[in-house]
Structure formats: C-alpha cells, structure tokens
C-alpha cells in the first residue's frame, strides 16, 4: 500500500449539473484474498449499505459479507408450477373441451374437442411433452429475468460508472463500495477505516445533481410523443370501426390461395351474353353422345299413349323384356346380385319388404312407409315395363335409382324380381328334376 494511494482522489465527474453529490466511497484491494478479508472487517464494523465488486464471483465472499441465500429458486419453482398448469389447461381447453358446455365463452376463445382417429379427447400421456416444455420455459424465464430484477438491473446511470478506476472491476480489480446512505457513514472516518483495511486506493463516488431544467423532458420530445401516440391510435380506431360495422364490399384478401381465379364460375353473371349468364345452354337440338335414347322399350319401359277411361295422355307399359337383354340364367344371377346391393336393404333379400332398413325405420317410427312386398298379387300383376320404371323413377316414397343403376342392370333386377315372385309359394313339382333332388338331399 503506498501512502499516496490512501488519499482520496477527485474523480472526474462531468460538472454540467447543479452540483455534485457524494454517493459513497470506493476502496480497491489487491486480490481476492485481500478483498475477502477486508469484507469480513467491514461487516464486523457494522456497516449495512455496502458491497464488494469483483470481475468474477469469489468463493467465500458471501459468508464474509453476510449475504443470505437468495430466494430466487423458490420463485422459480412456483413459476415452473405455473407453466405446468398452463400447459395442462391449455391442452385440455383447446383439444378436449366441448364448446357447447361453455356457451359463455366468446367464439375466438372457445375450446374445441378434436376427434382424431377415434383417440380419446383427453389423453394425459400425449400431453406430457408440452407440459414438460412449458414448465421448463416458465422456470427458465423466471430464473433469468428474476435474477435481473432482483439485482435491480438494468441500471445504466449507476454513479459508480463515473469512476475511471472502477472500469477495471470487470477486468482484474477488486473493490469495496460503502454507500453514503449507510447510517455509519462518515466521510473522513470511513475513508480512514477503508485505508486501514489495506486498500491500495480509496476514492469518492460522486454523482452530478441535475438542474431542474435537466430533469424535465425537452418540450419537443413531449410534443412528438403525443403526436405519435395519437397517430398510433388511428389504426386501432379503424379496426374498432370495422369490427362494429357491416360492410358490403368483400374483405381484404392479401394472400389469394387460388381462391379467386380469373374465370367464370357456373352461376356467375357474364357481361357479354344477352341472358347475362356465364353458363351457356347447349345449342337447340344438340344431343350429347349417348343421350339419344330413342328406344322406349329399353330405356323407359313405357311409351306415351292415352288412358281409355279419362282420355288423358298416360304411360302404356311394355309387357315383355326388350330385345337388347338376354333373359337367361346368368342374367338373372346378375339381377340377384344387383338386387341384393340396391333393393334388399328395404325390400329384404326375399323381396318380402322386411329389409334391415325397413325394420329399423319401423322401429324408430316417424312416418316410414312399409316397403312393398314385391311378391304380392298387386306387384305380380305389374308389367315388366312398370317394374323397370319403378326402379328408374321411384314410386311415391321410394327413391329413384335410375341414376345409380344402368339400363341393362335395371332389366336384370326386373328379371330377378320376377323370379322372386315365381319362387314365392311355388310347388316343388314346378322345379326341374335336378334341383328337386338337390333340395330333397338337404
């Protein structure tokens, strides 16, 4: 320790302000050991507002100063817990909560029970990764930010930064700082005390006291601030207006996503055509390929005639199969297969009208009309043309199947219906010998 070093030097404080204020004293020590030793003695002397400053954490200094263990980890624990609960709630609400159960919640916050491949809405196992991540995230943010907050950082105007000597604190110098607000602080005495601890230098920490003009914000700044704040409100105002009003113009569509294309859609208006329709009608008399269905017997099963009783136009059904279809065994079997697909749900595989859909519908009630028994006398008396037309266009409450089943297949079904009618109540003698013996064997 040199004698010169003990005399406090005047720090180079910028002196623009109203004056200089003493903030405390700064003593430099040679190495970590000297600092720790000095700290022990400062503490013993009963100072309370003081601290050590060093380029790195010095082991054992906490005891020497009497720093109590920080509570930060406990705070971190609670933040972690919060992260855990947040993740749990978030996942339950967004993936498992049914909006109908919470009608009070506004739409944009409403949860939604996603059904994904029949998995349970709420499966805790699948939520563990996100719970873990948010727990870590919350705790880590708390640890980092909490450390800064507890350390009262950022603090850019710390008067310590006025000291040229203090710059070395982040390099290789070790300091003790005693604040002037300490009840034991007395400039001369404390100075002497610090010097006696083996400090290689003691200096005053001073701060400029700003003049009242300096503490006021410059007028220009305030005005610009107000103007900017007002301008900042304009977009918000637009949004508020837009949200509360209805508008007939379409909303702004920044990214097109191929939603709007340069073409006319089916029902759109077209300025060039007289009828203003974008969708054009075929030219009169034009017939698409395959649409020329001249043969009434094959395509419709009837031709228009006159009802002899009322003298009104009425369909006249054909009594025989058209020449285009070969009525043989293979054809009837094809008909059976189609019948079982299209008709059996209502009419039953036997044509009795007791199909599964029919039974279920009757059970549920609600105005279901019993599907017809295709084998009763009425249905037997229908000409094949009429049966064909029933399939094509439906009848009363039975829906049409013309657009699902082709003409040949419809005729095949008719042939099979005829077979069903024949089978019902048929005597065994009517079967060919081969079938008869096969049945007897059963």
């Amino acid at each position: 320790m040199s004698a010169a070093a003990t005399s406090p030097k005047e720090p180079s404080v910028p002196r623009s302000g109203a004056g200089v204020r003493l903030c405390g004293l700064l003593a430099e020590f040679r190495d970590p050991d000297a600092l720790r030793e000095a700290a022990r003695r400062v503490r013993a002397a009963g100072f309370s507002r003081w601290d050590c400053h060093s380029p790195f954490p010095i082991h054992g200094i906490d005891d020497a100063i009497g720093i109590r263990l920080t509570k930060l980890p406990i705070v971190v624990f609670f933040f972690g817990l919060m992260g855990c609960l947040t993740a749990l709630l978030l996942q339950w609400w967004t993936n498992a909560a049914k909006p109908a159960d919470y009608p009070m919640v506004p739409t944009f916050l409403q949860g939604y029970g996603f059904l994904i491949s029949g998995k349970p809405f709420w499966s805790f196992q699948a939520n563990i990764p996100v719970i873990f991540e948010l727990t870590v995230l919350f705790s880590a943010l708390c640890a980092g930010i909490g450390m800064l907050v507890a350390n009262n950082l950022p603090w850019f105007s710390n008067p310590l930064f006025n000291s040229e000597r203090f710059r070395r604190v982040t390099n290789d110098a070790f300091f003790i700082r005693v604040d002037s607000t300490d009840s034991k602080f007395h400039l001369q005495q404390t100075q002497g005390f610090l010097a006696s601890l083996g400090a290689i230098a003691v200096e005053r920490i001073e701060d400029t006291i700003p003049t009242p003009a300096e503490t006021r914000l410059p007028g220009g700044l305030v005005k610009t601030g107000i103007v900017l704040a007002c301008l900042g409100l304009i977009p918000l105002a637009f949004i508020a207006v837009a949200r509360s009003n209805k508008s007939s113009s379409p909303r702004i569509h920044l990214i097109q996503d191929m939603d709007n294309q340069e073409k006319f859609k089916a029902q759109a208006a077209h300025p060039l055509f007289k009828d203003k329709r974008a969708m054009r009608e075929p030219i009169a008399g034009a017939i698409a390929r395959g649409d020329l269905r001249e043969d009434d017997r094959f395509y419709r099963g009837y031709k228009m005639g006159v009802d002899p009783k009322t003298n009104q136009p009425a369909p006249v059904y054909f009594e025989t199969f058209p020449a285009q279809v070969p009525v043989n065994e293979a054809f009837v079997q094809r008909g059976q297969q189609r019948f079982n697909i299209y008709c059996s749900p209502c009419h039953g595989v036997d044509g009795s009208g007791r199909g599964m859909v029919n039974q279920r519908a009757l059970e549920l009630g609600g105005g279901w009309v019993q599907a017809a028994d295709l084998r009763d006398a009425d249905r037997r008396s229908r000409p094949v043309g009429q049966l064909f037309n029933t399939i094509t266009s439906g009848v009363r409450t039975m829906p049409p199947y013309g657009d699902q089943i082709g003409e040949t297949d419809r005729w095949a079904i008719v042939a099979y219906v005829r077979a069903l009618q024949k089978a019902e109540g048929a005597a065994i003698e009517e079967l060919p010998e081969k079938e008869r013996s096969a049945l007897r064997k059963r």
Binding site: Y112, L134, L148, P154, T170
Partner: protein, 487 residues
Amino acid sequence: MDISGRVNGEFDNTWDDPQKRSPLVPEHYKFGDVTEQVCGVTEAWRPPKAWYVAFAISVSLLGLLGAMIVYLFFTGVGVWNLNNPVGWGFDITNFVVWVGIGHAGTLISAILFLFRQKWRTAINRFAEAMTIFAVICALLFPGIHVGRVWLAYWMGPLPNQMAMWPNFRSPLLWDVFAVGTYFTVSALFWYCGMIPDIATLRDRAKGPIRRFAYGVLSLGWTGAARHWHRFERAYLVLAALSTPLVLSVHSVVSFDFATSVLPGWHTTIFPPYFVAGAIFGGFAMVLTLAIPARQLWGLKEIITARHLENMCKIILATGSMVGYAYGMEFFIAWYSGNPYESFTFLARAKGPFAWAYWTMISCNVLAPQLFWFRACRRSIPIMFFVAMCVNVGMWFERFVIIVTSLSSDYLPANWGGYRPSWVEICTLLGSIGLFMTLFLLFIRFLPVIAMAEIKTVMPAAHGTGAHAFDYNPDEPKEHPQVSEGRQ
C-alpha cells in the same frame, strides 16, 4: 519443458499425472492477461484476413439461401423434389441435423457444468453460440416447408374466430414447443452468462458506438457480490433446467418418427439414439469451429490441447454409442421377426441408398475409432479430418433414416425414389452460410470466451479456494499450487 508448461513453444497440458492437476490456463497468466487475450479478438482494429474470406463466402451463401427461399415462396413447394411417397427429404434432414448440432452446446454449458467439469469454461460460450445459431437454422426448415408459409402461425395456439387450435396429441406440435422452448432457454442462458463479459467490453470500449452498444447489452453490470450471488444461483438453475430440456428436445424430435408406424421409424430406441447422435454430431461441430478459431485469434493457451483432447474422447464415446444403436436396429429388426422391419434394414444396407448408408457407417462409426490412439487425439489435422467426417456422417444418418423408410414401406406399389432438386441442395448450402455468418459476427463482436468463468478456474483465483463457478463444498480449501511442470 519450461516453467509455464511449454513444449517447443506450445502450451501443453495433456499429461495425465494424477498427482498433478494439469492447469487449464498457463500458470503465469494473470487475470488481466485473460481479458487482454479474449477482448483482443473483438477489439482488434481488423480481424485476420481469413475472417474476411470466410465472411464473404458465408454471406454469399446466405444470399443464396435468401434467393432459394424467395423462389420457394413464390413458386411453391414443388420446386423441391418431394412427392409421394418421400414427402420429407432435405428439409427435415437438415432440420434434424441442425437441431442435433445445437445439443453439444447445451451439453457443454449445462451438463458439464453440473458435473463440475472445469475444462468447459474455455469452450462453453463458443458452444452456446453455436447452439443458438444451429437452432435458428433448424427452425428455418420446418418454417419454410409447410407450403403456405403465411399460415405458419397456425402452429401456435392463437385465439381465432374459427375456434381452430393445434392438435396437442401430435408429435409435430410437441416439436414446435420443444424446439421453441429450447431456443428461448438457450438464448437466455447464453445471454445471461455473457452479461459480465459484455460489461468487460463496455469498460474497455474506446469509441462511443461500442460503449453505447455494450453499455446497453451489459445492463449496467457492476460485478457486485450480491449480484454475483444471484447470478450464480440463476446460472445453476438454468443449467439444471437445460439439462433435461436438451434431452427432451431430441427425444421429441425422434418422436416425429418413432410414433409413426413406418418400418425403420417405429422403434423405441430412437430417443436415446437420437440424443447420443446429437451430442456426437454437436461435438464434431464444436471441434470444426474451435480449431480454426483458436489458430486464427491466438487463443491456443485458453482453448488448450487438453480441451481438444477431451472433446475427442467424447466424440469417441458417443460415436461408439451411435454405432451400437446402428447394430441394435439391425438386431431388433431380425429378432422381432417382422418381415417389413427386416426388409427396411436390408434395403438400407443393400438398396438404392446403400451408398448413403455406408457413407454414414464409415464416417460415424469407423472414423472416430482413430481416437483410441493418443497421437490422433493430439494431432490437429487428424482431429479436424475426423470432425469433418462426423459432420458429413451425421447428415447422412438423418438422410438414411428419413428417405429409405419413406421410399419403400409396406406396399411395393407405394414405393418411389427421391433425388434432391438443385433448390434443395442450394438451400442446404445456404443454411450453412446463415450459420457461419452468424458465427463469424459473434466472434467479431461478442466475447467468444467466458472470461469471468475462466478467471475463476485460474490458479490466481485459488488463493484460499476461490473458485466459485464450480463451487464444491467437499473439495479441500487449499489447493497445492502446481509450480513446476512435468519433469
């Protein structure tokens, strides 16, 4: 050898004499010397020429990346050669590779910290920076591969009029949370640890711009003992949080594959195997960066031969774990008796992507075996060669896993090939440019080495047992000072 442990003028601390702790920093170093050395890197009026060359290349690659992304956005994902059945190719390969590289940084900064491995102090800042830049590169790929990038925000749970939320039962969403958390926590860890060192730069800054920038970034740090106390606690907590976090991140990444039913993906070994691979690849990247950096900026006495040797040992260990996992995959494929699994693995070794498979095996399993020999662990060229092998090998590992499994699954009718388009290749190169640009800027403007931490492991700080960063109550208070080197 002279008193400071020099052999032929180079500082050598790789001896293994249990009686003498080999110093991590030359003994004659004073605190100020460390500051000088480390700050010298950013304070030099001009960086070395090699920096300019590297920076020019990196920035051009970064420009290429930008161009590729713009092209992708304006034309659509069709510019990548992805199609059925290979819907994941370079994009997800690069994503997994970059995330993996990040892991070594956290391992060094957090896990080695918890295990009180003092040697980490010289490389941790470095490695953490690498983590952050690697994760930035990683986040890029899932971000741009979604097709309609302007809807990428749908990945987050944002309130909306459609009451439409992400599916929290999907591993892809877990990934969003895992990698997002990983990035945030790593960045926080990195920045918090850097505050005292930025304060050092602030206090030495000459120009007003530097003073202002470092002043703002260092938040008014004064090195007060109470601040250090909370700082160390927070650091410990962050390390303790990062450790399970880093393990979870690559496990979750592996769930992207493991929870699907594709042969070659649907295996329980994936999480540990991915984590080991990530650490393996990450350490190779640390070596790749550290070797030229210490050479260029004269940091050989801070990132010492011993540091490099330790990293070689870790590469050997994790490389062997990865090799074991490769073998185990084959064994389980056979042992399960599942014909699809067996087929997939045979197809990896003998099918159309066999070249990629064998590149992976030779780079990841064979090359690191060199490190059984001490001479190889000390030879910079060999070390660098192996590190480069591992970088390549780990990229191919992900490529093999992703592409072979997708290209031929259960139904031969579904099979298809994959060959990257030039856009995909340029995007990969561009991501390397992004990484290197960030890294070179980091070296130029931020403290590359954790000075405050280094100072705590220096003999001078050990007067009566002052070594707070790796505080260990069980350790004897007095350290015998090693004053003479190896005889």
